[in-house]
Amino acid sequence: MATVLYFARLGEQLKTSSEELSLDEMGTVGKLVDHLQDRGEPWSSEFESGRILVAINQEMSDFDSAISDSDEIAFFPPVTGG
């Protein structure tokens, strides 16, 4: 089971900050996002913007990156610290 995290505005909109998910055939971040969007609203719109960032195991990654069931995958809006 992969751990999937949602931060900041994204977590608020989705009303969840974390879930455990079996990735099955979803071998890339892009495939996982397709799966999440298939849940309908608000998932569909939230991932539609093209501005959601992803980190795999706490490293900035992108939607083409490979993922497996042992990974921690985090989705979040552009960062605004500093």
């Binding site: 995290l5 931060f7 900041a8 505005r9 608020e12 980190a55 706490q58 490293e59 900035m60 921690e72 985090a74 979040f76 809006p77 552009p78 960062v79 605004t80 610290g81 500093g82």
Partner: protein, 152 residues
């Protein structure tokens, strides 16, 4: 060599500079950046803000940014402190201190770390406005451009 900290409590610039320079007589210059909470943003009065972060990742991300700066410039020592939690106008948010034997290296490394932090470190600000509402702060395009200027 460097100190990285993500913390709720405030920091003191002089104390951090002393910690860097403690017992050393080979440091020629230090440059320190402090980011502060302003009471206005996008024409709205800000009463306070909450800084959320991704605990498992922030330390790693900050360490990576400091390492990259240390590879590009001569950095004798570095301190990076980022606060999280509840902050109010005039509160300190972030501190970057760079010690170097050359002042231009210290300026560049410090400026670079701030630009990269603003696009790559997983922190998010939520502002409480004086009218009682709250909102997530949007990333600014100018920060993306600022980070872009360091790319080869």
């Amino acid at each position: 060599m460097s100190k990285i900290s993500v913390q709720e409590q405030d920091f003191d610039v002089s104390r951090e500079l002393r910690a860097i320079c403690n017992g050393r007589t080979d440091i020629g210059a230090t440059v320190s950046f402090v980011g502060l909470v302003r009471d206005m943003n996008l024409d709205d009065s800000v009463a306070g803000m909450t800084l959320q972060h991704y605990p498992g990742m922030t330390d790693k991300a900050l360490q990576k940014i400091v390492s990259e700066a240390s590879q590009r410039w001569e950095v004798q020592d570095a301190t990076l402190i980022h606060r999280v939690g509840e902050l109010r106008p005039a509160d300190q948010i972030v501190l970057v201190c760079i010690a170097s034997s050359h002042r231009h290296d210290a300026f560049e490394a410090c400026s670079f770390i701030m630009d990269y932090l603003k696009t790559r470190a997983p922190f998010w600000k939520k502002e409480q406005l004086k009218d009682g509402s709250s909102r997530w702060v949007d990333a600014r395009e100018s920060d993306g451009h600022a980070a872009g200027r360091w790319e080869k």
